[in-house]
């Protein structure tokens, strides 16, 4: 351990082991910096703009959506307000859709709809056009959500796609796919699972993961993370596969 690792700047002993880091500079890292610097010099945006949007991207995550769903599950009056005006209700849990510019971002400030599941109706969200996503509530979209494979196939074969995420729904459950766009964003309100009757909002929020609010998973006690293998929604399967399977 060298001196710099052992002592912090105020002289206090500092014994914890540093987290591993990638100790080489890649061309990708260099490219990102270079093109950003040139864009700023060319007046395409300012360094202040970039700092503000970076802070926004760092500050958002799925925890806001989890809190929204948990509060709706436990507070009927809040649920009524949220279903009536979701953006306004988000302010009650500290989510401000007007950030970071005062009018959101062009791709974020939109009409938000909460899609309420029932025991016989399941919603799932995509954006066939690009990758519109309720970032103030769910953070940055996962890579698979952006793939053309997920977007194209979900609207055609929703049950197959859900099955690839490990969500197999019985035939009596209707599946509705909602297609986001630049002005319409959606978040799924899943059915509160049994076995959670006496849980607090905080406990409930832990099982409302990002995938549950996109609609590719269901909340359940004990499931607190979206962990799944690389699935076909990410790795393309040619459409002829489905045609053959349908024969």
């Amino acid at each position: 351990m060298n001196k710099a690792q052992k002592y912090s700047t105020d002289g206090a002993e500092h014994n914890h082991k540093a987290a591993p880091m990638v100790e080489e500079i890649t061309d990708f890292e260099v490219l990102e910096i270079a093109v950003r610097e040139l864009a700023i010099e060319h007046g395409l945006f300012t360094a202040e703009d970039h700092r503000r949007f970076t802070e926004f991207a760092e500050s958002v995550g799925p925890a806001g959506g989890s809190r929204l769903v948990a509060k709706i599950w436990t507070d009927p009056a809040f649920k009524a307000r949220a279903m009536e005006d979701p953006v306004k209700a988000c302010l009650e849990i500290g989510i401000d859709w007007s950030k970071p510019t005062g009018f959101g971002t062009p791709s974020d400030y939109t009409h938000l709809t909460i899609l309420e599941d029932t025991p016989t109706l399941h919603h799932v969200v995509c954006c066939t056009l690009c990758s519109c996503y309720p970032r103030p509530l769910l953070g940055m979209s996962p890579e698979w959500y952006r793939t053309t494979n997920y977007r194209r196939r979900l609207v055609r074969w929703p049950r197959q796609i859900l099955a690839e995420f490990g969500l197999i729904l019985p035939p009596e459950v209707e599946v509705r796919v909602e297609d986001s766009n630049q002005k319409c964003r959606f978040i799924v309100l899943p059915v509160r699972p049994s076995g959670t009757e006496n849980w607090t909002e905080e406990q409930l929020a832990e099982i409302v993961t990002r995938d549950c609010m996109i609609g590719v998973a269901l909340p359940q006690p004990g499931r607190t993370a979206d962990v799944h293998p690389v699935h076909k929604a990410r790795r393309p399967v040619h459409s002829s596969h489905h045609e053959e399977a349908a024969r």
Partner: protein
Amino acid sequence: MSQKSEVDPRRVGLLEAMRGQGKEWEVLAPCYGVTNPNPPWKTSLAAMCDCLDVSGALPTLDRRRAEDELAEAVYGDVPAPESQLLTLVHTMLNRGLVSERELASRMRTVRSRLEAV
């Protein structure tokens, strides 16, 4: 997805030289025992995309359409988020927002700065 962008799928020498070196994050991170799924520059890249959208220099829908086309035509074997970065730069080059020559020069400057001791 049916509309076509004005993207030029011809390969860009500067970007081609970066491919196939095994330096993508999903390859590199495990070599160093790093578990963060995204490289440190990912957030900055997302912010840059937002900035270009807000300023009107490259609207999100145009960028994403070009990204879809280039991901299929040129960068299909590149994982995210490197593919997102390459398609963004490719699109900016196509639109004349930056030139390949000045970008190559700036990359040399940036690298020497980062490697300074």
